[in-house]
């Protein structure tokens, strides 16, 4: 007993050392990254305007929160981006998930929609930008269409896969109890494919966020992508980098949120 305890203690100590080494190496890695960046900037490898040191970018980031650039402050740009993101994403989920479930249940619908889907798969969402601008303008409609085309496929595919892999016995049981098509989809297929759908939502949100940035870089008059373009036009690397940081933070937050949703659903399912 005592030996086991001392063994596990030694093991803990070993793990602790390992963890400390891991931490030190991580800090060194980050230090090298920022150090090389700062040195390259200070050493005049490139003009300051093109490669500002990290602290200048940080200061610019804080500036952008107070002072409007390209018409709005950073939060306002983010807000208008986020509105577009929310609309496009919600539209994709509201159409995509029911369509995917229905395709998983009605074979004829699957046979009609799947080939179209396969054909459209290779059109990058960003390639819809010209039509989006032509059909819906550059304000909200155009970017929302581009986000939609990015977010739609994972919603459909994951709902479809979820519905296809539902336990056959459940469906048969529902059928013997006299469930109609509608009831089977809402009462059997939907609850059974929730994990798959949520996993799809996460992929979908990532693609939506990325498509939004693309759309705003090309056609928009506000939003975080527009801020980047304006920063680029005035050759201000620090503004462009601040915008990239903001994009990264929001993207990360969206992903973390959906990841925790996914985890909580899995936990609840596991307890059942």
């Amino acid at each position: 007993m005592a030996r086991i305890a001392s063994d596990s203690l030694a093991h803990d100590e070993h793990a602790l050392v390992k963890r400390r080494e891991f931490l030190v190496l991580s800090v060194i890695g980050l230090g090298v990254f920022f150090g090389v960046w700062a040195l390259a900037s200070l050493g005049g490898l490139a003009p300051r305007q093109f490669l500002p040191p990290p602290w200048t970018v940080a200061a610019k980031f804080i500036d952008l929160i107070h002072e409007p650039f390209a018409g709005y402050t950073l939060q306002q740009h983010l807000l208008s981006s986020f509105t577009r993101f929310g609309m496009g994403f919600a539209l994709a989920v509201l159409i995509g998930v029911p369509l995917g479930l229905a395709m998983g249940w009605f074979r004829w619908l699957d046979a009609i929609v799947s080939p179209l889907f396969d054909a459209l798969r290779f059109v990058a969402p960003i390639a819809w930008v010209p039509f989006a601008a032509l059909w819906f303008g550059t304000g909200i409609g155009g970017p929302v269409l581009v986000i939609f085309t990015g977010a739609f496929p994972p919603c459909v595919i994951n709902a479809y896969r979820g519905a296809r892999y539902v336990d056959k016995h459940l469906i048969e049981a529902a059928q013997t109890l006299g469930a109609r098509h509608w009831h089977i989809i809402t009462e059997v297929l939907l609850p059974a494919s929730v994990p798959s759908i949520v996993a799809g939502l996460r992929v979908s949100a990532g693609l939506a966020w990325q498509s939004l940035i693309g759309a705003e870089l090309i056609v928009a008059s506000s939003g975080i992508g527009y801020l980047l373009v304006k920063g680029q036009a005035s050759i201000s690397t620090s503004i462009v980098m601040s915008g990239m940081i903001a994009i990264g933070i929001v993207g990360f937050a969206i992903d973390t949120l959906l990841q925790s949703l996914e985890a909580s659903i899995y936990r609840r399912r596991g307890r059942k």
Partner: protein
């Protein structure tokens, strides 16, 4: 077997019927009745004309094959550069805890920034030419290449590595005989994702600023309010992307024949 074949036949006819119906619908709503005005959506004849114009006379700075080749060249350059650095780096991170500790934090910092957001920075640094695009494409492919190679090495069963070690293989042999083949399936998944990201990023980059390329065709057509040319550009993007994906799938089936075998069973 017959059930399966009947199923496939059903799917094929349904698919063919869908496309035929869509074609008819397109003709009826545009050419025949003009419910969809051709300012918003082109007629089949207009698309055919636009296709002829771009292949014979050229549009937006070049003829169709020139746009194709230019875009393809840039994607290939960025992709190859990213893969030849990213895959070894990812495998190194998967194989060595120390390398992982040093590289991973920087990676986590850069990863949430989508490749498209690098485009303005690349333009500030390198201008509107090819160099900026290759840089962004490189970045787009780099992240998935590293992550999946890393996951690929980590997915190998430790027993296999231990068994190889106990048989006394040296480092080179271990890498060549165990780590490399063991991680290939996930590496290829990474390559496929990387190629897709490259392609999207290139189109976006060319839409934002370029002299030739398929994305530039789209941009110019949008500017000229030329819907039929937009359709041609989108078809071009889809066909080029599809061809590249197929080429990679072919390569994958040659490199890891055992994987396709196992999924077929």
């Amino acid at each position: 077997m017959t059930q399966k074949r009947r199923n496939a036949a059903f799917r094929f006819t349904a698919g063919a019927a869908t496309f035929a119906l869509l074609g008819v619908l397109w003709y009826v709503t545009t050419s025949a009745t003009q419910i969809l005005p051709s300012v918003y959506f082109p007629t089949p004849a207009e698309v055919w004309q636009a296709l002829r114009q771009i292949t014979v006379e050229g549009y937006a700075g070049g003829r169709l094959h020139e746009h194709f080749l230019h875009s393809g060249k840039l994607v290939l350059m960025g992709f190859v550069a990213a893969v030849s650095i990213g895959v070894p780096l990812g495998m190194l991170m998967g194989g060595s805890r120390r390398a992982e500790a040093a590289v991973n934090p920087v990676f986590l910092l850069l990863r949430p920034i989508p490749p498209l957001a690098w485009i303005p920075l690349a333009i500030v640094w390198l201008g509107l030419g090819d160099a900026a695009k290759v840089l962004v494409i490189w970045f787009a492919a780099f992240v998935p290449a590293v992550i999946n190679s890393y996951a690929g090495v980590r997915s190998i069963e430790p027993h296999l590595i231990e068994a190889a070690r106990s048989l006394g293989v040296n480092r080179t042999m271990l890498i060549r005989e165990v780590l490399l083949p063991g991680s290939l399936p996930l590496v290829f998944t990474g390559l496929r994702l990387a190629l897709q990201a490259c392609w999207t990023t290139l189109v976006a980059g060319e839409l934002i600023g370029a002299i030739v390329g398929l994305g530039h065709v789209l941009y110019q057509a949008g500017l000229d309010l030329f819907p039929s040319m937009i359709v041609v550009g989108m078809l071009g993007v889809a066909i080029a992307g599809g061809m590249m994906t197929m080429a990679l799938e072919w390569l994958e089936s040659r490199a890891i024949p055992w994987r396709t075998m196992s999924t077929r069973l």
